[in-house]
Every structure is written in C-alpha cells, then in structure tokens.
C-alpha cells in the first residue's frame, strides 16, 4: 500500500474528472474526516486516513481491500474505473441519465443504452461525456459515456445508441471472480 505517484495521479484524476468534473476536489478535501487515495496491488482505494493507518499493520500480501476500491491500473498504465466506486460517482456526478424500467435489465447485462430506454437526461449534456445512470427511482445502476448530446438525443430514432456502456452493477454477479 502506497500513495499514488505523480504520473499515476494524473492518469487517475483525468479519468475521474470525466465523470464528476470539479467535484474531485470534494473527494480529497472533505469536511468530516481526512480521506486519501492509496494504491495496493494495482488497485486504487479511497479510504479515510484513520482506516489507512490501521491497515498499515496488516501485511501487504494479506491486505485484500480497504475502504472503497475505485478501479485499477492496467499493465499499460491506463486506469479503469470499477463499478465499486459507483456510490461516490453517483454522489458527485455532474451529468445524469435516467433509465426506463424496461431497459434496466438490458443495461445490467452489459448492453449499451438505446434511445428507447432513455427516461430522462440532464440538460445540455455534451457528447462523449461521462454520465452516471439511475433507475427512475434514483437508484444508481452504472456509468457510461454519452454518444450524443442532449440536444441531438431529441431527434434520434428509438434504436439509436445514446450511452456507451462502461460499468454496471451486474458486474457484481458476472465478474465477481475477476473484479476483486
């Protein structure tokens, strides 16, 4: 377990900013308790400093997880967000998309979101913007990248792609073996 290097932080925060924009600062400078990012076995964890100190006692090999896992660095040095960080993304997301109940399951099986399943979308979302997806009851179910802006979405036919799949809660079931 160690803090992120400068290189790593750059890659990591660039990715995070795509989804929650300037709210990233809120993650680091919390009013209640100091939190920090730590890297352990290629995975990036977001954890309170007190918890981090406690876990320093645990041998590195046996430390399986601490706090919340945000994602992992690939061997090529890119960063991949995991579904496990959905809570924080949902909390700070700038742009949101609501999915119709009929398309919920399709999304949770790892498919892209079509116009037919689009319930609501934040005003003036640009294209290629990271968004968090919610059910109509405001339960977060994943995140993705918009294919079209809000404006363009209005004219689309129902079978057109609206949001590219990036991560969904179905991964807890599908990828349990590889995710953790």
């Amino acid at each position: 377990m160690r803090p992120l290097t400068e290189e790593e932080s750059k890659v990591f925060f660039e990715k995070l900013i795509k989804f929650i924009g300037k709210n990233v600062t809120l993650l680091i400078q919390r009013k209640d308790e100091p939190y920090c990012f730590r890297i352990q076995k290629n995975k990036v964890y977001y954890v309170s400093e007190e918890l981090m100190k406690r876990s320093q006692n645990i041998p590195r090999d046996s430390l399986a997880s601490l706090g919340t896992c945000f994602g992992r660095f690939t061997k090529t040095g890119k960063f991949k967000l995991n579904i496990t960080c959905l809570d924080y993304l949902a909390q700070y997301a700038k742009y949101k998309v609501w999915v119709k109940p009929t398309s919920e399951m399709s999304w949770m099986y790892g498919n892209n979101l079509l116009k037919a399943g689009l319930g609501r979308i934040t005003e003036d979302t640009p294209a290629n913007q990271g968004v968090v997806l919610f059910t109509m009851n405001d339960v977060p179910i994943g995140f993705g990248v918009t294919a079209k802006s809000t404006f363009e979405c209005r004219k689309l036919d129902p079978t057109a792609l609206v949001v590219y799949h990036y991560g969904d809660v179905g991964e807890y079931l599908r990828d349990e073996d590889t995710l953790f």
Binding site: L51, R54, L63, D87, V139, V169, E176, F180
Partner: protein, 672 residues
C-alpha cells in the same frame, strides 16, 4: 427397466397385501429367469444363490414351524433349500416363537395404512432397487445417473440393512405385541404360490428398504421410550430400544451412525426425531435490508412491486422472510444496487448480540461471505473501523464483493489466519468470532454433512475454535469505554464445539459470560453427560431448526474484565519456582556437604513460594473451576518440588559417599 419394476414388486412387505404381490409375480420370474433353470413356482431359489448370508438369516426369521408342511408342497423347490430351512426351523423352539412375533408385527404395522404405504413405496423404493441392482451388476450402477452422494447413502443404507437383519431376532420382540397367534395360521392356508411370494417379499424387505415401515417403527420405539415403564416389553433394556432407534434413523434419514449418536445425546428421542425431520425441509429464505442504502419498508415495497411475497421478521429491524418469488431474488436491480443481502435468519443473531456502536473498532475474525460483516457495518453506520478477516482466499472475493456492493466504507479486509490477530492488530472494542465448525446446524442446506463428517472433524474443529476464541479475547481491549465484548458463534450443535469451547476460554482468560440480549433461544448446557461447565453458560443461547425454524446455531457473549492472562501469570510463577529449585541443585552440587543451616534456608524459600501460591488461590477463588485448576497446578508444582528434594537428597548422599571415599583415600595416602 423391467428389472427395476420387478424388484419393486419383490420388496413389498409381506402379509396383508398378498394379492398385489401375487399379481406381479410373473414379472419376478421373468426377471429371474436368466440365472435360473428351475420352474416358475420357485422364485425362492434365486435369492439364495444371489446373496447367501442375508437369505439364510431371513429364512431363519421368517419360517415358523407351522409352515413346514406347506413347504413340502412345493413340488419344484430344491431339496437343499428345504433342508436348510428345516435345519433352521428345528434348531430352536424359542427362536421360532420370536419370529412369529415379528411376522405379526409387520403385518400389524402395515394393516392400517397399507394403501398409502404402498403408494409411497412405489416412489421411495427406487433407492432400494438401485442399490440391489448395484449388488447384482456393477455396470448398471455406474451407468445410472446417481451422484456420488446418492451412492454413498445407498451403501450406508445397505450396510444398515444387513446389520439390521443380524439384529432382527433380538429386537423384533420389543416392538410387537404378543397377541398374534391366530392370524398367521389363517394366512398360511391361502396357498403355496402366495406363500412363496411372501417369503420372497420378506427377504427383500431385509435387503431393500421398507422406508414407511422403518418410519413406523421409529415412531413406535419412541412412543415406548417415552413411557418406558408401562410400554416396555419385559426383560428388554432401554439400550436395546435405543440401538434399534439409532439404526432405524440411520436407515430412514441416511445419517452416519456417529451423527445419530451425537444428536440422541443432545436431544431426547422424540425431539431428535423432530430435528431430523426438520433437516429434511429447507428453512425459509430470508434477506436483510441494507440500512446503509435503504429502509426495510421501502425495500419491501419495491420487491412486492416485482412480484415477491414477503413478510418482515418480527424480532429483527431489518429482516424479511421471502415466501414466494417470481424473479430471481439474487439478481434484482435492488439486489445489485446493494439494498439487501441474502442472509439466513440465524446469522443475524451473533451481530445482534455483538451490538456494535458507531465509532468503535470492531473485528470480524471469520468474515466470509460478509453477511455478518456488512450487518456490523450497517449498525456502526459506516463509522469507526471495521476489520474483516478470513483465511480462505477464494471466499475473500465474495466478502470484498459484498462489502462493496452494500456500500460499506469503513472496512479493511485481510486474508490471513485469525490466530495471528492480536500480534498484527489489537485493542478492539468488539470482536466477533463466527468460528469454522462442522456445520451440524445446517444439514438442511448441505445434506452431505450427514455422512461426510466424523468425530475427527469435531476434534480438529474444536482445537482451532479454542485457539481462535483465545486470540479473539486477546485482541480485545478490556479497558474499552464502550465495549470489551467478544461474541462467539457457530452453526454447529455439538457441545464440544460450543459450551466446551467457551468454558475453556473462561478457564484461560479473565472473561465473564454476559446475557446475549436476544430474547428467544434455548439456554446453553451447564452440564452435559460427564462434563460440567461453569453455571453462567446458561446465559448462552442455542437455536434449533425444529424449534425456531432457522438453522441450528449457538451464540455466546463474553465480556473481558482485564487484560491479564491467568495462564501466563501461572507460567511466570512456575518460572520463579524453577529458579528456586535450580538454585537448590546448584547449591547441592557446589557444596559437598550441605549444612543444616542451608537446608533450613531452602525450606524457608519453598514456604515462601507455596504461600505465594495460596495468595493467588484466594484471588481467583471467585471461580471455583479456576481454583481447582490452580490446586491441580500447585499439586503438580509441589510434586516437582518433592522430586527436586528427592534429587537433592540423593545428590547429598552421593556427595557424602564421595566425601567418605575421599577421606578414605586421604587416609590411605597419609598412611603411605
């Protein structure tokens, strides 16, 4: 397939239903034909050739002397068999009488419920058939679709049958009333062919399983045992009844005989039967609403909208029982969003007993798959520090997955042996030890436990359990303002894994048992057969499938009183003693002749040591067991001292001898 059907017909019980049996007879013969040169009317002969030992026994059992004449009527039957039979029959009059009783009993047990039983049998005897087939032709068994487990069960059942056949003569009597003589004679008149069928059917009863009959007998025996003085048959001891009951339960429910023994020690006979029956049905499916993300009410509404029938668990704030569902309960959007987790009702209990508070430091020593861990986190409202540990690397994945899915943010997960904990991290306010166990409480979940577990498993388990519990106690800070609590739980029911382990902890650490704060449950044992436990063990709680409709479970709540470890204190004292005694040794070595003064000094030292011991005794006199412990220890140490004394005396003598020798030598030298 033909063979199978034939066999079923063969196995049906003897007397009252003859017509049925007779009707199927042609099939039987057909099946038998290949091995057989003899005519149709003698199906008996096939059996003896196939399985020698059991048939002999069965013949013994079945043939009362009155049958002899009729048997002679079998024109086609082989002489050998006749001879055997007549030998057997002539041998012992008393035996014959007993056998009569047995026949009557069988008929009695069946006469009321014949039809039902036979219908059931059609379904149930398949096992029996297949096992028989297995004996006849190994190939067939292999090609069958049975799982390993089924095979094992069948083998066990066959064994049980064979044993049963052996014991039958002794045991038939107790169960049967003595009033039967008339029936048998009447029945015998009915005809040769039917008689033959009957015999065959009887033999097969001993080989195949007649489950309804076994069940009936279990019930009869239990009824007898409950009112033993008036119901027993004279001269038959309770032990005989119990042995019969054990065997029947092994046969009917498919348990290993060791396991049946275990449960018959924990429960009385009637309750044990309830327990075994409860293990055949599944417990209701329960889920726990994750209060970090939702409320139980909201969750219930969302699930009802998806077509799930559910009801809140009364004694819990967060539990829901699911009666019926149209969707997979483990794959709804609510589940994936972490609003609930599938968790058996019994595993709520240790967490309720632990009662973690916000901002505490809590350790879950054996955490996977995370049901209890996430419940603890929810009760702590995601504050403080929660450390979850599990030894098994594979199970760690599900633990981490559940922790993340349910939005637990205050948790560190470690993958190591729980016994390392106090050295890695200590000073916790509360520790939960949900120890690995034999799992005798969850037989309904995993029926393989019925035969796969043995006494050795219990022994190894209890060892790790004791170690884990002691380490857990060591990891707790007794001076914690809010806690100092240890909860020990298992999903097993043996006393060795539960009360004995907690009692062991009481003797070795400065802890007391406190009330679990759970309102229901059966009190723990304070005495069990030859073992006696601390009286406060009555405050621990046991849960049984048949009384609480949840998995069998055990929960004990301990409070740590001080951080000192009694056993280590004793060790230190022993060290002191050793030092003293070693001093003696060195003294005795160095001084060839110990003066009287020195000896007096040593005695004083010894007295001081023993007085220290007495002091410690008075300290710990609060707990009787500890006292006795100390006493034994002191005795040991006293013995040690005595030994040392003896040794030193010997050495003194030796040295005296040497001294004398030296003196002699000196004298001789002087003379020279």
């Amino acid at each position: 397939m033909n063979k199978k059907s034939n066999n079923t017909s063969i196995k049906k019980p003897s007397t009252p239903v003859r017509k049925l049996v007779g009707a199927k007879k042609p099939n039987v013969v057909g099946a038998v034909k290949p091995n057989n040169n003899i005519k149709k009317s003698t199906p008996i002969q096939n059996k003896p050739t196939r399985n020698n030992t059991p048939t002999k026994k069965s013949q013994k059992v079945e043939e009362p002397s009155e049958d002899e004449e009729e048997e002679e009527d079998y024109e086609d039957s082989e002489e050998e068999i006749e001879n055997k039979k007549s030998n057997l029959l002539d041998s012992d009059d008393d035996e014959e009488e007993e056998d009569d009783d047995f026949n009557r009993k069988n008929s009695g047990a069946f006469s009321d419920q014949n039809k039902k039983l036979f219908k059931m049998k059609g379904a149930e005897t398949e096992e029996g058939e297949e096992s028989e087939d297995g004996e006849d032709e190994d190939d067939e068994e292999d090609s069958g679709e049975e799982t390993n487990f089924e095979r094992k069960v069948k083998k066990a059942q066959i064994k049980a049958k064979v044993e049963k056949a052996k014991d039958d003569e002794e045991i038939k009597n107790p169960i049967l009333p003595d009033d039967v003589s008339d029936e048998t004679t009447d029945e015998e008149g009915e005809g040769e062919k039917e008689e033959g069928e009957e015999e065959e059917a009887k033999k097969d009863n001993l080989l195949g399983i007649d489950l309804p009959m076994v069940y009936q007998r279990i019930k009869d025996v239990i009824a007898t045992l409950e009112d033993f003085n008036s119901q027993r048959k004279a001269g038959i001891s309770r032990q005989v009844y119990m042995d019969r009951l054990k065997e029947d339960i092994c046969t009917y429910f498919g348990y290993s005989s060791w396991l049946v023994d275990v449960f018959l020690k924990i429960f009385n006979a009637a309750e044990a039967l309830e327990f075994f029956e409860a293990n055949e049905t599944h417990r209701p499916l329960t889920i726990r609403a994750n209060t970090l993300k939702t409320r139980r009410k909201d969750l219930a509404e969302a699930l009802i909208a998806r077509g799930v029938h559910l009801e809140p668990i009364k004694w819990s704030q967060v539990g829901l029982t699911i009666y019926d569902t149209q969707v997979a309960i483990g794959a709804t959007p609510e589940y994936l969003a972490g609003q609930y987790i599938q968790q058996s009702a019994s595993s709520f209990l240790p967490v309720l007993a632990l009662a973690p508070q916000p901002n505490e430091r809590v350790l879950d020593m054996c955490a996977s798959p995370g049901g209890k861990t996430t419940y603890i986190a929810a009760m702590m409202k995601n504050t403080g520090t929660l450390v979850a540990n599990d030894v098994n690397k594979e199970r760690i994945k599900s633990l981490v997955a559940n922790i993340h899915r349910l939005g637990v943010k205050n948790c560190v997960v470690s993958n190591m042996d729980g016994r390392e904990y106090p050295s890695v991290l200590a000073g916790f306010d509360r520790v939960l030890v949900d120890a690995p166990c034999v799992g005798l409480g969850v037989i309904s979940k995993d029926p393989q436990i019925k035969i796969s577990k043995s006494e050795q498993d219990v022994i190894t388990c209890t060892h790790t359990q004791k170690e884990l519990l002691l380490r857990a106690i060591d990891a707790v800070d007794a001076n914690s303002a809010t806690g100092g609590i240890i909860v020990y739980s298992t999903c097993s029911l043996t006393v060795e894994e539960n009360e004995a382990v907690v009692d062991y902890a009481l003797r070795n650490r400065d802890v007391i048992i406190v009330d679990t704060t759970i309102e229901f449950g059966v009190d723990g044992f304070t005495s069990f057969r030859e073992s006696r436990f601390h009286p406060s063990l009555a405050l621990t709680k046991r849960y049984y499938p048949h009384t609480h409709n949840m998995d069998g479970f055990y929960v004990a709540k301990l409070k740590k009183r001080s951080n000192t470890i009694p056993s280590e204190q004793q060790k230190q004292k022993q060290k002191k003693r050793k030092e003293v005694s070693s001093e003696e040794d060195t003294e005795s070595d160095s001084n060839t002749i110990p003066s009287e003064e020195q000896q007096k000094q040593k005695q004083k030292k010894r007295k001081e040591v023993s007085s220290e011991d007495q002091d410690t005794e008075s300290d710990s006199s609060i707990k009787k067991q500890k006292q006795s412990n100390n006493n034994t220890n002191n005795n040991n140490t006293n013995n040690n001292n005595k030994n040392n004394l003896n040794n030193s005396n010997k050495k003194n003598k030796l040295s005296k001898n040497r001294y004398v020798k030296k003196q002699v030598q000196n004298k001789s030298q002087k003379k020279k």
